[in-house]
Amino acid sequence: DVKVTQSSRYLVKRTGEKVFLECVQDMDHENMFWYRQDPGLGLRLIYFSYDVKMKEKGDIPEGYSVSREKKERFSLILESASTNQTSMYLCASSLGLGREDYNEQFFGPGTRLTVL
């Protein structure tokens, strides 16, 4: 089974802090994704990566950056956390383009971040 793990289930940070959210997948997937989930808004794509050291902006990249130094690991970085970044953050991974079932994304359990 595909396993996507996230470094923390719950995280509390203060405004202005630099925050790192880590995600690791163990199925050699090419694509990795970061979403945030807010009530009434569903899942919104922040950034994604289709290969090591590659990144693409999603729908709401402002205030975030990402890093993918290794294929299995995708990090989301909040350079200076703000209260409006309090949310549930979900990481996902999927196979690369052209491979069977490349659309299906496998999700981690999520990190609930609170910024005070």
Binding site: N31, F33, Y50, L97, Y102, N103, F107, P109, G110
Partner: protein, 113 residues
């Protein structure tokens, strides 16, 4: 931009009933659709998917119907159980670009014993 949406934010059913969750999409270029289930405190889990060359696909107790004419997707759950209580999301994708998914806002399914 174009988006995926849902008709009903909350659906309440009795155990044993059949449930139908609906989803409207607006991107006519979408050719892949997927349903996820998200239980409280967990990440979304895959339920079933369908490609645009099909209009129906069945899984274990679940069926997805796709009507491309009216851009409508539905998830049918047979003999709904309390364990089916969760938020259900539909998502769409197209073969262009990087196969990203666009998610709807979700429907809460509440199953009463």
């Amino acid at each position: 931009g174009e988006s995926v949406g849902l008709h009903l934010p909350t659906l309440s059913v009795q155990e044993g009933d059949n449930s139908i969750i609906n989803c409207a999409y607006s991107n006519s270029a979408s050719d892949y659709f997927i349903w996820y289930k998200q239980e409280s405190g967990k990440g979304p889990q895959f339920i079933i998917d369908i490609r645009s060359n099909m209009d129906k696909r069945q899984g274990q107790r679940v069926t997805v119907l796709l009507n491309k004419t009216v851009k409508h997707l539905s998830l049918q759950i047979a003999a709904t159980q309390p364990g089916d209580s969760a938020v259900y999301f539909c998502a769409e994708s197209s073969n262009s670009g990087y196969s990203t998914l666009t998610f709807g806002k979700g429907t809460m399914l509440l199953v009463s014993p």
